[in-house]
């Protein structure tokens, strides 16, 4: 294999570079992170306004409207984005495979908690149970972000995961504070929306 101007060390450097470029391929799930981060930020801000009595009729039905609307818009957008996503270089990398699995598991865990909270609220636990979804959600974001960031070698995503870890404690500490959902909105924008936009801007071009 070695050509006249190359040494075996050059050959090994070449194969090492190629193998590492596969292992460290950029993450390609930015559009999904940006989408969920965007609508979740809006939902948290709307929830904050509802708690303050700035929107809704005070009956509590506004919370149902906000979160059912969020779920329908989120899943609908997810389906449209997935259908319209072209093949991308690096989709077979460890980081991107881990990203798909980790975020799917995160969505399932949050969905399971939401169902549990609905059942608990209907059996007398009260609406405060729903507040605990937020720190649980930040916990699973933290796991997904740190695992995918570490596997893809993306320090910003790992740092976003660190921010999600901090949000777990911060939101829990302020769980009785009236501005807690404004804090959650800022946390989601910083740890999911902005990193998602960053990943989107760095995605490799479409492959044919």
């Amino acid at each position: 294999m070695t050509q006249a101007s190359q040494t075996p060390a050059d050959d090994l450097a070449y194969v090492r570079r190629l193998a590492e470029s596969g292992a460290r391929a950029p993450l390609i799930g930015g559009r999904f992170m940006a989408w969920w981060g965007f609508i979740l930020t809006i939902a948290y801000v709307a929830h904050y306004f509802a708690l303050k009595g700035m929107i809704g009729d005070g009956s509590g039905s506004i919370f149902g409207i906000i979160w059912i609307g969020f779920s329908v818009a989120g899943v609908g957008g997810q389906i449209l984005l997935a259908r319209g996503m072209p093949p991308k270089a690096g989709e077979g990398s460890a980081g991107n495979r881990a990203s798909r699995s980790a975020w799917t598991a995160a969505a399932c865990a949050i969905g399971s908690m939401v169902i549990g909270c609905i059942i608990a609220a209907r059996t007398g636990a009260g609406p405060a149970t729903f507040d605990w979804i937020v720190p649980v959600a930040f916990s699973v974001y933290a796991c997904a972000l740190i695992v995918t960031g570490a596997l893809s070698g993306d320090r910003i995503i790992v740092a976003a995961g660190g921010g999600a870890v901090a949000m777990v404690g911060l939101f829990t500490a302020l769980i009785l504070h009236s501005d807690r959902y404004l804090l959650a909105a800022g946390g989601v924008a910083a740890t999911v929306l902005l990193p998602g936009l960053l990943l989107l801007s760095r995605e490799p071009r479409t492959q044919d």
């Binding site: 294999m1 075996p8 590492e20 270089a89 690096g90």
Partner: protein, 107 residues
């Protein structure tokens, strides 16, 4: 290398020892599958050249080729087979032996 050298030239797998084929195998060793165009860009080959090299790897059973249509466009995905991973591991072992042999003869 002398006759008592621990390095055996004949043990080097010619199928993956070519620069482009080696690049293909190295890249595929780090991912579970790759698009044809992704590989082409990574190894810096033309479509025709890469196709010829992939055919050799496929004939040797080192690479699997999956052709399909996505959004009405043809798409080729390539992956390293278990035999390909074994050959890649053996090649790395041979290069390590070569380096050791070179180190032993120079000392």
């Amino acid at each position: 290398m002398g006759e008592d050298s621990p390095f055996d030239h004949n043990a080097i797998d010619d199928v993956i020892h070519g620069r482009i084929r080696l690049g293909v195998v190295a890249y595929l060793s780090a991912v579970d599958c790759a698009l044809f165009s992704e590989l082409r860009d990574k190894v810096g080959a033309t479509d025709g050249n890469l196709s010829a090299h992939l055919r050799k790897l496929e004939d040797a059973g080192y690479v699997s080729v999956d052709k399909s249509f996505v959004n009405r466009k043809p798409q080729t995905r390539l992956a390293l087979t278990p035999a390909g991973r074994k050959a890649w591991s053996a090649w790395l072992h041979q290069m390590e032996a070569l380096r050791n042999a070179a180190g032993a003869s120079s000392s």
